[in-house]
């Protein structure tokens, strides 16, 4: 085994182990942390595949933003574990069946017969001057410009939809009028008075 294979197996082990730990951990915050570890391992495997832009984007978007919001929500919610685990035994047969189906399907689609080295040869290694990000940008902004822009517009619509769902009638909402706060002058708030002290002995 060369060093690259050793690194690959280390990260794959961490990937699988942390994914399993995420599923089986009872504490929601710990589950999120294991998911972050899984993301890091996946990013490292992508780095081995020379997909450095994807790897960094995975960390930047998912670890840096999405998972922060997950932790945020977990802190705000008081998750009651007993109700979550109450009907565990009842749902177990159905869950196992679904899991078995998914595993079989994935094994059929992603197995050695479809993606093995015999079907798809290992990609050739690029030189040190090969820039993944330049190639990706050229592809995105020339060949796939319409799909790229469509995706951007879809995301924008999703943002607007989410905001309109939250922003309903103004009932009981308190807020400051920032422009009034900015415009305020010292003389509007503070009244300076000069008082002649009555008691002059205490000088």
């Amino acid at each position: 085994m060369n060093s690259e294979q050793i690194i690959f197996y280390i990260f794959s082990f961490w990937f699988i182990a942390s994914s399993l730990a995420m599923i089986f951990s009872r504490n929601a915050a710990k589950a999120v942390l294991f998911l972050i570890l899984a993301f890091f391992s996946a990013a490292s495997i992508w780095l081995l595949l020379e997909a450095e832009f994807l790897a960094i984007t995975l960390i930047l978007v998912y670890v840096g933003a999405v998972m922060v919001l997950f932790l945020f929500v977990i802190k705000m919610l008081n998750i009651d574990k007993s109700t979550l685990r109450a009907k565990f035994a009842g749902y177990l047969p159905l869950g196992l069946l679904v899991a078995a189906i998914i595993v079989t399907e994935m094994a059929m689609v992603l197995g050695y017969n479809q993606f093995g080295l015999g079907v798809m040869a290992a990609p050739a290694r690029h030189g040190a001057d090969y820039s993944n990000i330049t190639v990706l940008a050229l592809q995105l902004y020339t060949d796939y410009i319409y799909s790229f822009e469509l995706a951007a517009v879809l995301l924008l619509i999703a943002i607007i939809a989410a905001i309109t769902l939250v922003h309903r009638k103004e009932v009981n909402r308190k807020g400051q009028s920032i422009s009034e706060q900015v415009k305020v002058q010292a003389k509007d708030r503070v009244r300076l008075v000069s008082i002649t002290p009555k008691n002059k002995e205490n000088k």
Binding site: A29, L33, E52, I59, V63, G64, F72, K75
Partner: protein, 354 residues
């Protein structure tokens, strides 16, 4: 440098392959982290002295001549203090939080080019690496707030998480303008693109972006006037109320290492990195050519580090909703407008920067 490594290879022929590269990277990392920790220690001393003088005080002056040994004494004090664990706190996460704070703060330095060819790693996407690793640092604060099992840390962590996520967007947009002009996301290439005198530096075409970047850096590093995460007068000490001794010191180190990094990043992106300001000027440029690039980089970043202290001593703390408004309603529109301005400037090749 290459002759030196050649000499090493000839002296020790067995020193080769994976083992050698790991050892070399470790040596480089140590050569970077040890001075960094020293700078952090004396930055705290400078902070206390500078703010002291600004407030007509003397500052620390007891330990050593003029208080020079104060940071060392502080370090010993923090190391010997007891680490208190709050009852019913999650001990593993409680101890993991400082580690998650300091690890990105140090790892982020790997891509900083101090001089031509002087870096630990020359990544092709070092600017994105900086953004990604910088965004990981927030977990230290969030976990500290959650694992302490206490109200004030939780409030501080909630504030911090929302602030950091919103200001990351602003910083990202501000950096996009730099990338558009330089045509690269490699910090080395960005500095090389600013070669020449002071007129070639990016702070001239990107002046609003430079201001926005620096203010956002203040927010990202939880510095005054945006230090609502700690907010002594509101939530006691924010995320590190429950931390004592060395666990607190690690948070402290991480915060100051991040501050110094943001100062260095501002210099690299907007002030020509290691280039001398007298580059294109006839006699001055040649006269100063003997100065090593790292001296210029450190001198310029020292100014920004001083700015942190100056701003802290000058401005009162912002209210939380004011900081949020500043990010979403002021900075974000400005950065988007400036991206279009820079796009036009790049297209029509205005100025010496393109």
């Amino acid at each position: 440098m290459t002759e030196f490594w050649q000499w090493i290879y000839e002296l020790f022929p067995w020193f080769d392959g994976v083992f050698a590269s790991i050892v070399i990277i470790l040596i480089k990392a140590m050569a970077l982290v040890a001075p960094l920790m020293l700078v952090v220690a004396y930055f705290t001393y400078a902070e206390r002295k500078v703010i002291g003088y600004m407030q007509l005080r003397i500052g620390p002056n007891r330990v050593g001549p003029k208080g020079w040994l104060q940071p060392i004494a502080d370090a010993f004090k923090l190391m010997t203090k007891e680490i208190i664990f709050p009852s019913k706190a999650n001990i593993y996460l409680f101890l993991l939080a400082p580690v998650l704070a300091i690890a990105p703060a140090i790892a982020i330095w790997a891509v900083v080019p101090f001089d031509e060819g002087m870096y630990v790693a020359n990544l092709d996407i070092s600017l994105l690496y900086v953004l990604a690793i910088g965004s990981v640092g927030v977990y230290g604060i969030i976990l500290a707030g959650w694992a302490s099992n206490s109200k004030y840390p939780l409030l501080g962590a909630l504030r911090s998480a929302s602030l950091l996520v919103s200001y990351e967007i602003v910083i990202g947009f501000a950096l996009v303008t730099v990338v558009m002009i330089a045509g690269s996301v490699n910090l080395n290439d960005i500095v090389m693109a600013q070669k020449g005198g002071v007129l070639n530096w990016y702070f001239i075409p990107l002046f609003p972006m430079m201001i926005i970047f620096f203010i956002s850096a203040l927010v990202e590093t939880n510095r005054a006037p945006f230090d609502v995460v700690e907010g002594e007068s509101e939530i006691v000490g924010g995320t590190h109320v429950e931390y004592s001794g060395m666990t607190f010191a690690v948070f402290f180190l991480a915060e100051y290492a991040n501050m110094i990094f943001m100062a260095v990043l501002a210099v690299i992106l907007f002030f020509g990195g290691w280039h001398s300001p007298f580059g294109g000027i006839a006699y001055l440029g040649a006269g100063f050519s003997w100065v090593p690039g790292i001296i210029w980089l450190l001198a310029k970043s020292t100014f920004f580090m001083f700015l942190y202290l100056w701003i802290r001593a000058t401005f009162p703390r912002f209210r939380y909703d004011q900081i949020m408004r500043l990010s979403w309603k002021v900075f974000l529109p400005w950065t988007i407008v400036w991206i279009f301005v820079v796009a036009l400037m790049t297209q029509f090749k205005i100025g010496p920067w393109f």
